[in-house]
């Protein structure tokens, strides 16, 4: 603990943090807006590729997309992490507690969308909800939307497919959580929850809460650390994914995939969902490839179903949930999520 830091008043350090973050934001925007110009200059002026050269086109796509996606990831994950520092779980629970089926499911699902799914919070949250007497169906809405909505997937969709598709992913994830939660809630599945969950009684009187609100500088530091952690985990997958995507972009003929992944191939949706299950850790690399495939005739619903299955259904998640749910309930949960994703895929193939 260095003593000289304490001589600075708190407001001053907070202001400094704002100035630093503001300056970084300006730099970020400037860089982001000049990416296409830099990529064009690099491929067509410096390396002198012809405009209709397939290799040049692939290279241009790669040197534009890699920095763009990495910049987007860094900026957006920072913003999302900052938003998360404002979520007070105790307050959220108190609000959800007062709501019944429907509104309660929607709120729990929205909360799930904002909370990352991990062993650090998902299981304690599940227990905390049940302990507060929140119905199982509402708790499930949280538990279903939370793994479907992945912040890295959301940012990649935003960067590679545009905000409309990112919004569609967000809305579908929430709708699936609400509908599946209501459905599961009516199935009376309490007997398939590990019994210890119902026996937990939080002794709030003895173990008091004196949790202080973090300062802005702490929020910024925390978000920066989280961003560094997430980006360092996925950047390599993103580059490899974009590399493969760039090759597809330049060398695979237009409409090559219409028959395999187009909307007329009904079996492509279930196939994509099945393929997506084992690909969990590579979600960051899969999305750029899917994006390139989409340009070659793959259907959007199929692509969306594939991505949801990549992020939502995976072994590590099931192992975490096994701590509180019996195998029968895990199986039901997987089936419900799987069917919901399938329906979403078909729906978007029909509508788009």
């Amino acid at each position: 603990m260095s003593t000289h830091v304490q001589f600075l008043p708190k407001i001053n350090t907070d202001r400094r943090a704002f100035v630093l973050v503001g300056a970084l934001a300006v730099l970020w925007i400037g860089l982001y807006n000049s990416l296409q110009a830099i990529a064009d200059w690099l491929t067509y002026d410096l390396l002198r590729f012809g405009v209709d050269d397939a290799l040049g086109e692939s290279l241009n796509f790669f040197v534009y997309d890699v920095p763009k996606i990495l910049l987007l990831l860094t900026g957006m994950i920072f913003l999302i992490s900052l938003l998360q520092t404002f979520i007070d779980t105790q307050k959220v629970r108190a609000v959800v507690e007062k709501r019944g089926e429907g509104v309660g499911n929607l709120m729990a699902s929205l909360f799930g969308a904002l909370t990352p799914f991990c062993s650090c919070s998902s299981v304690p949250l599940f227990i905390g909800f049940v302990e507060a007497g929140i119905p199982l169906g509402i708790t499930f809405s949280f538990l279903i939307t939370s793994p479907i909505m992945n912040e890295v997937a959301l940012v990649l969709l935003l960067g590679m497919f545009g905000w409309q598709v990112a919004l569609m992913y967000l809305v579908s994830g929430i709708v699936i959580g609400v509908v599946a939660g209501i459905l599961l809630g009516r199935m009376k599945l309490e007997r398939y929850v590990e019994p210890f969950v119902f026996n937990v009684k939080a002794n709030r009187a003895a173990a008091g809460f004196e949790v202080e609100k973090p300062t802005w500088i702490e929020r910024f530091a925390e978000s920066a650390e989280k961003t560094r952690e997430i980006v360092s985990k996925v950047w390599l997958f993103v580059i490899i994914g974009i590399g493969i995507g760039a090759a597809i972009h330049g060398f695979v003929p237009e409409d090559a995939l219409v028959n395999i992944m187009g909307e007329d191939a009904w079996w492509s949706v279930p196939l994509s969902v099945l393929l997506g299950i084992p690909l969990y850790s590579n979600a960051a690399g899969v999305i750029p490839i899917v994006s390139a495939l989409l340009g070659k005739g793959a259907a959007l619903g199929t692509a969306l179903a594939f991505m949801m299955s990549v992020v939502a259904l995976s072994l590590p998640e099931l192992i975490i949930l096994r701590r509180v749910l019996k195998p029968q309930l895990l199986a039901i949960l997987v089936a419900v999520i799987g069917v919901s994703i399938l329906l979403t895929g078909y729906l978007f193939n029909m509508v788009m």
Binding site: M1, T89, Q90, N199, A202, A207, P214, V324
Partner: protein
Amino acid sequence: MLQVKVLGSGCSNCQRLERETRAALEAGQVAYQLTKVTDYADIAAYGVMQTPALVINEMVVSSGRIPKADQIVTWARERE
């Protein structure tokens, strides 16, 4: 002696909180005894819904994040 507890199922952030708490308290020369609480039922009994959480003398002082070292020492001194 200060009773310090780190609540968390053993995820990487929980281990980091334990390391940083030990380092902070030793640097601040606070006498303490640290216990790790890893059982989900025991964690929930503290009313904590986001781990890692830090408990000092049975009072939950932080949840879902890793506080700064000088903050940990301040909390410890207040309760010594």
